[in-house]
């Protein structure tokens, strides 16, 4: 009797726990999914909608896209004028092209500086490695805004960089470095360097050193071994690092706003000015949609690389 009751109790408990598991699973997946859908996915659909709206003087400064008219007609009016305006105006096209150029060049520069750094950290003796790693992470935790701001003082007319150049007699007059493209490139590489070094470091650290020994045993010179063994095996890290720098750099706002001149055209800044300066929400939205379309491919690529890295 008791044995049967015990078995039934056990079975009931297992059934209850299975139902609990199902509810738990729903909660674990559902809650963050719901949050990201409401606050990340849906907003993009709204941006898309506003990009097809007309500007009007009101708050919010857009005409409704869908209206219910007095003679009971559901009207959907999509204005493509914002997009033809964006693609027709050479200023916007130039801003897009220039953003891609600035981001691309900054990415290459960051890779050239970041790779030897990551290599050095990954090959450093144990205790040193942790310290150096921490030194790369630390600027990442320090305010982005303040790190960009630091260059305002350094590059200024009577700043230390000009001071050194004058003292060495390299220039006779202080150089105008702020509000130039040079300052923007410098700020970009400086701010995004940790994003480049971290994935490179983890790729180089994973590298099997015996492969390099084998190459050396077979008479391969270190430089050749680097280009035929090390570099191809760390390509994954290179791609990840480049995408992590390139994607946010294309839409960067703070660096061109603080270090660039009035003629430094970058799309993040244009979106900002359209929105806050001209209060033209539809054009700002159209620009954001075009920017998003350009970057989507890169984001998908990054996600695939990261997913593969996690499985490995």
């Amino acid at each position: 009797m008791n044995a049967i009751a015990g078995r039934w109790r056990g079975r009931l408990r297992r059934a209850g726990s299975a139902r609990g598991t199902e509810a738990g699973r729903l909660l674990v997946i559902g809650l963050p999914y719901l949050w990201l859908t409401v606050f990340f996915l849906v907003p993009f659909l709204i941006v898309l909608k506003i990009a097809f709206a007309n500007i009007q003087l009101s708050m919010p400064p857009v005409e409704p896209v869908v209206t219910w008219t007095q003679d009971q007609v559901l009207q959907l009016r999509l204005h493509f004028s914002n997009f033809s305006f964006v693609f027709g105006d050479s200023l916007y096209v130039a801003a897009f092209l220039n953003s891609l150029k600035v981001a691309g060049v900054s990415t290459v520069l960051a890779l050239l500086i970041g790779y030897p750094m990551a290599y050095g950290i990954a090959r450093a003796p144990g205790a040193w490695r942790n310290v150096l790693f921490l030194l790369v992470v630390l600027p990442f935790f320090t305010s982005f805004l303040l790190r960009v701001y630091a260059w305002l003082g350094l590059l200024g007319r009577n700043g230390p960089v000009n001071g050194v150049l004058l003292a060495l007699g390299i220039v006779q007059e202080p150089l105008q470095m702020l509000q130039t493209d040079f300052a923007v490139y410098l700020g970009m590489v400086y701010s995004y360097l940790p994003f480049m070094v971290l994935p490179l470091y983890s790729a180089i650290e994973k590298l099997d050193l015996t492969l390099l020994e084998a190459a050396a045993d077979l008479g391969c010179r270190p430089t050749k071994a680097f280009f035929t063994v090390t570099l191809p095996l760390t390509l994954e890290g290179i791609y990840a690092g480049c995408l992590l720098v390139f994607i946010p750099a294309v839409g960067e706002y703070v660096i061109p706003a603080l270090l660039g001149g009035p003629d430094t055209l970058m799309i993040g800044r244009v979106v900002w000015d359209e929105f806050f300066g001209n209060r033209d929400w539809p054009v700002a939205s159209a620009l954001a949609i075009v920017l998003l379309a350009i970057l989507t491919g890169f984001v998908l690529l990054l996600q695939r690389i990261q997913a593969r890295g996690r499985e490995a």
Partner: protein
């Protein structure tokens, strides 16, 4: 031959770290300069703590710092709760409907330009207000929601990486001994991923504390965060009290990161030792 190559690597590292740290160092040094011109050293009256004193008497800066702190702490807590759930979903439930989209939604906020995220969230809040009357103006609440949305992605990465290293057999053993899934999570999994949760919290806090662009889109006239205040000041050029502020923040972050780093290393070592002791005692 190897000697020459390592010399190149050493020089590249020295250059790289100098590049990363000299600007920060310069900011710290200039914060003690008495001159209002910031980069012109006034050797007669420097070093001085005058800018620090002025900073603490600057009511708008202190107010916005308090607001930023409150938002950052709330954000970090929310982001850790949602981020842990999301990381668990991605790592433990290998298959569910819409997993690919879920993965994309947890990666994209990390890399998408902030102007896009900020603009889209503002348009959402405006649309919501028209439709249901909430959130009723923009301020600390909308900023916090926006911050949770983008900083959660970073938390997911940190916690998912940790979850992947947790020995599944420990969870299975607890399950075999009759523990419910929730209990397994609290008693076994949670303590094991605690370091990742702690670093995720700190990361989310700093991302929120530091954010300017997204905040500018979703904030209202009555809520000015510290980065917003700093930005409006530095747009006009270098300012000595901002150097003092930067120095304090750099100091706090350094102490936090170094403490957390050493603590985590020690924790890891103790766990390894415990594991070895347990293995040694087993047979």
């Amino acid at each position: 031959m190897p000697g020459r190559r390592s010399l190149f690597v050493l020089m590249a590292m020295a250059f790289g770290f100098a590049f990363l740290y000299l600007p920060i160092l310069a900011m710290v040094v200039y914060s003690f300069n008495a001159s209002r011109l910031v980069t012109v050293w006034d050797s007669a009256n420097s070093p001085t703590l005058a800018w620090y004193v002025e900073l603490f008497h600057n009511a708008p800066i202190m107010d916005s710092a308090r607001l930023s702190f409150r938002i950052a702490a709330t954000n970090a807590t929310g982001a850790v709760i949602l981020g842990t759930l999301a990381a668990f979903a991605l790592e433990r439930y290998r298959r569910f409907r819409g997993r690919a989209l879920f993965g994309l939604l947890t990666t994209a906020p990390m890399v998408l330009p902030e102007v896009i995220t900020g603009l889209s969230l503002l348009l959402l809040f405006v649309a919501l207000e028209q439709a249901v009357g909430w959130p009723g103006g923009r301020g600390a609440t909308t900023i916090t929601i926006a911050h949770i949305t983008f900083s959660m992605a970073y938390v997911v990465v940190v916690i998912q990486a940790r979850l992947a290293t947790v020995d599944r057999s420990l969870e299975e053993a607890a399950m075999d001994l009759g523990a419910r899934p929730w209990k397994v999570f609290v008693v076994i999994t949670l303590p094991l991923i605690m370091p990742a949760i702690a670093s995720g919290w700190v990361l989310a806090f700093i991302l929120s504390w530091d954010d300017l662009v997204i905040t500018s889109f979703v904030s209202g006239p009555s809520s000015t965060t510290l980065p917003q205040l700093v930005f409006s000041k530095v747009r006009l050029g270098v300012s000595p009290d901002i150097n003092a502020l930067a120095t304090i923040l750099v100091l706090i972050v350094t102490v936090c990161v170094v403490t957390a780093g050493t603590y985590l290393v020690r924790l890891e070592r103790r766990r390894l030792r415990d594991a070895q002791a347990a293995l040694g005692a087993a047979p």
